[in-house]
């Protein structure tokens, strides 16, 4: 009898450990997370327009249908990234996600305070390697540190009414994200 009790208690304790390990492991092993869903329709370090959410057919669940959305799937292993998007008339926001969909930074047109949201994305190591003098000219340049070398930038423009959707989409067509080294080599 006592053995059975041990088996059940041991099972419950082990079960707790299995639970904790599997919760922590789930983001790493999930195959239908947002990054994996977006990978087939995006190129690395380029902006792609996300198709409008349609009933029962949205690529990502809980998409806001009032927004035009574009995505840049980035990989910083070959160097920092330059990102820019002109703000739309209504509202534009740029959100940054790690490879495992942690929203580590988001900015909107008002907090950017300019007609164009421009920023440099790099890993903490790449930032540490920045020469001192560049750090000074960087004062008017927004630098974002990505915790993971790969991830997603989601750019959203509001269409306050359905009629304004073409305008919102058009403003996202001008969004760019490209490796910084492209520019340096020119």
């Amino acid at each position: 009898m006592i053995r059975w009790l041990f088996a059940i208690l041991g099972g419950l304790v082990l079960g707790g450990i299995v639970h904790l390990v599997s919760v922590l492991a789930l983001p790493r092993v999930a195959t239908k997370d947002a990054y994996s869903r977006l990978a087939p329709i995006t190129n690395v370090n380029a902006v792609a327009q996300l198709p409008a959410a349609e009933p029962r057919n949205a690529l990502l669940p809980f998409q806001d249908p009032a927004f035009a959305t574009a995505v840049c799937r980035y990989d910083l292993s070959s160097g920092p990234l330059k990102f820019s998007v002109p703000v739309s008339q209504a509202y534009t926001s740029v959100s940054f996600y790690t490879r495992n969909e942690v929203a580590y930074y988001a900015i909107n047109d008002r907090s950017a305070g300019r007609r164009i949201i421009e920023l440099d994305l790099m890993t903490p190591e790449q930032r540490a390697e920045l020469p001192e003098d560049e750090e000074i000219t960087a004062a008017d340049r927004l630098i974002i540190e990505s915790p993971t070398p790969t991830g997603l930038i989601i750019i959203k423009a509001l269409a306050a009414e359905p009629d304004l959707m073409p305008q919102a989409r058009a403003s996202l067509m001008a969004a760019t994200c490209r490796p910084q080294s492209d520019q340096a080599s020119r």
Binding site: G10, L14, V23, A58, S95, F96, E161
Partner: protein
């Protein structure tokens, strides 16, 4: 022999309990750090780097991208004010005022987070679209058949979710109560 058998039982219990709990928590979500206001619930920390492991697991499993806290905050409702699940065959009113924000959107989803088809192709409202009363308050009617004013069609679905997203808003991690964030009331007006 008996020892092996008992160990196997213990391992079986461990697998069932452990994975069962993981499945339940990542599917239904857990309420760590939830802000409850009336029928609405928000998880402002889910949009920051401080996201808890359960929310991370739920996000990875569902495939959604949580709204970043610098962008806005999302409030989810599964029930009306009295705890009754939102039923697409009923008339449901969302009425009152909203917390301070540059604008908001209200969207109707099925339980999987997908939009619900209807002939109007209307899946929600933005704050700029709705008709308001003189005092700035509003009422949105969510019903299977057409209603006057702000009508949001349900497509006759039996269960749905409402998500109200506030953009560019002070509402967030420090929000605790109705006084900080006056969310509109959700009431079931009538069922056929």
């Amino acid at each position: 022999m008996r020892l092996i058998f008992i160990s196997l039982i213990a391992l079986a219990i461990a697998t069932a309990v452990g994975l069962g709990m993981t499945w339940t928590t990542s599917t239904r979500g857990v309420s760590f750090d939830a802000v409850s206001i009336g029928a609405w619930k928000a998880w402002p920390k889910t949009g920051t780097a401080d996201i808890d492991p359960y929310a991370r697991a739920a996000v990875a499993r569902s495939g959604e991208l949580p709204i970043g806290s610098g962008d806005g905050v999302a409030f989810l409702a599964r029930n009306d004010e009295k705890g009754r699940p939102l039923d697409g065959r009923c008339d449901i009113a969302v009425s009152g005022i909203t917390p301070a924000a540059r604008f908001w959107t209200l969207t109707l989803y099925d339980t999987q987070g997908q939009l619900v088809s209807n002939s109007l192709q209307r899946y929600g409202f933005t704050s700029q679209e709705i008709v308001r009363n003189a005092d700035g308050s509003f009422e949105i009617r969510i019903a299977p058949r057409s209603r006057t004013g702000n009508w949001l069609p349900t497509g006759g679905l039996d269960r749905y979710l409402l998500m109200m997203r506030l953009y560019d808003t002070p509402v967030g991690v420090s929000t605790r109560s109705q006084r900080d964030a006056p969310m509109p009331a959700i009431t079931t007006v009538g069922c056929p």
